[in-house]
């Protein structure tokens, strides 16, 4: 990704002991306090978002998606898929494990 400029600012007040803990965590992670707070909260936000099980889309996008589901034409496997499926089938053992 291209380097981007950080233009947004968040200011917050913390209890001194909370800041101390964060500083210790940052130093354990080898990061500045800011970087530590940013990377930690990004990871948590991504985690929560990844667990979302509903995707809302515009009516136009939803209609386009519905139409693509109804399209009778079978889409071809991508170049990686055919090979991967063959390999997997060949490596599958009777007990369901593969090697």
């Amino acid at each position: 990704m291209a380097p981007e400029t950080r233009t947004e600012q968040v200011s917050l007040r913390l209890l001194p002991q909370v800041k101390d803990i964060l500083k210790q965590g940052a130093s354990a992670a080898g990061q500045t306090l800011t970087d530590f707070m940013v990377t930690s909260s990004i990871a948590r936000a991504r985690e929560l978002l990844r667990d979302e099980r509903i995707i809302s889309m515009s009516q136009a996008a939803f209609d386009a998606f519905s139409a693509s589901l109804a399209d009778p034409e079978t889409r071809r496997a991508g170049p990686r898929a055919a090979h991967a499926i063959k390999e997997y089938a060949a490596s599958l053992r009777e007990d369901g494990t593969f090697g």
């Binding site: 667990d51 099980r53 509903i54 589901l69 499926i85 997997y88 089938a89």
Partner: protein, 170 residues
């Protein structure tokens, strides 16, 4: 070269498996499958995993009375990861095919139309696109493939070992 994004991604994958996978499986929110190497010195060691759950797509502005046609049931592949010591051996690809086989089996019995996932980064995105997934309309951060197509691929390339030939809709 490991980028900060890769490190963040790896951290998230590890946290999920250690902290949340079991809870989510117990409550039925998602299911996690782990890959182990039964020939290894440490056969209990998890070398990879994936977790998936059911969900749906819907238009942003829903009318007051929601009919079934207004949501589309899908399966989300939320995470698929291989331990860094075991990467670059094709294990992720094998795990993905394993998931697709069980997904097609499930979709035979319940109405699921597509698999949807959100690649962690550009490299993962390229991998899935080469596999045959497409971006959602107006939303390139999510990729999807129709179950119908996956079934056709397994039939065409699986030497008859991966799914029944008895075709059932959808």
């Amino acid at each position: 070269m490991v980028s900060p994004e890769d490190r963040e991604a790896a951290a998230e994958m590890n946290i999920f498996l250690r902290r949340h996978a079991l809870d989510q499986a117990k409550t039925g929110i998602s299911r996690t499958f782990v890959l182990r190497d039964d020939q290894a010195e440490e056969p209990q060691r998890v070398v990879g995993y994936y977790s998936a759950s059911a969900g749906h797509l819907q238009p942003r502005e829903l009318p007051k009375v929601v009919s079934e046609q207004m949501t589309i049931p899908v399966v989300f592949l939320q995470r698929l990861a291989i331990d860094k010591d075991f990467q670059h051996r094709g294990l992720g690809t094998k795990l993905l095919v394993h998931f697709l086989v069980s997904l097609v089996r499930v979709a035979d019995d319940i109405g699921v139309y597509a698999l949807v996932l959100e690649p962690l980064n550009a490299r993962v995105d390229a991998f899935y696109r080469q596999f045959g997934l497409f971006p959602l309309p107006e939303d390139p951060s999510h990729l999807y493939v129709r179950i119908r197509d996956v079934r056709a691929w397994l039939l065409a390339h699986g030497h008859g070992r991966l799914c029944d030939t008895g075709m059932r809709s959808p």
